[in-house]
Assembly symmetry: C2
Homo-oligomer: 122 residues x 2
């Protein structure tokens, strides 16, 4: 291994508020039917124009956890002599996706209410 610093460009980081990652994964799979881990990191980067960077150290354990909870199914494939683990939502996963998306929407609405309060409650 001749790796020196493989993390050079960490770009003033992307502040992932803890708790969002699971929702992000579920949302991706809700749209794409099936995806593999690396693909998710690239897609998130593309959609958010580089503002959100999912680290692999967070992503893979999160995927394993979701699988263990029965929210995801896995299917391993070999492409170009490299492994890919394709994940897709189970039925349980679909339900959880709905509630997680609802939860995020509520959170955003709440925080916006908080940031721009309509009436002062002093």
């Amino acid at each position: 291994m001749h790796k020196k610093i493989m993390y050079v460009c960490n770009m003033a980081n992307s502040k992932l508020y803890k708790g969002s990652l699971t929702t992000i994964i579920l949302k991706l799979l809700n749209e794409s039917e099936k995806m593999y881990g690396y693909e998710m990191t690239q897609k998130v980067k593309a959609i958010t124009k580089g503002e959100l960077n999912i680290t692999e150290g967070a992503l893979y354990p999160a995927l394993h956890k979701l699988e263990a909870e029965g929210l995801l199914d896995v299917e391993v494939k070999k492409v170009d002599n490299r492994l890919r683990k394709y994940y897709k939502l189970t039925e349980k996963g679909n339900k959880e996706t709905v509630s997680k998306l609802e939860e995020l929407k509520d959170y955003i609405k709440t925080m916006e209410t908080f940031m721009n309060p309509k009436l002062s409650l002093d």
Copy 2:
């Protein structure tokens, strides 16, 4: 102590995305000039109509940390024979408030972009 279960009504919880609390505190002090801890928990509850409940176990350590970082100043007062620790923003705290609010706005914008992508990037 005759305390049995003081946490009974935990109300389907309030999902505070980790990382938001500091921003919330700074925003409160940015508007109210000076506040004490318990007052913050009540105000947040009121503004968000009970959707956000700051727990004391999170709040007080957070306040101590912000003070240690020089973002807050403290002034202890005795009201009705009970202590109150009034916090207010320092100059450094004012600057941090601006950047934290900016950061939250960016996060919300990014997540909205992610939830409602304008163009499909498949």
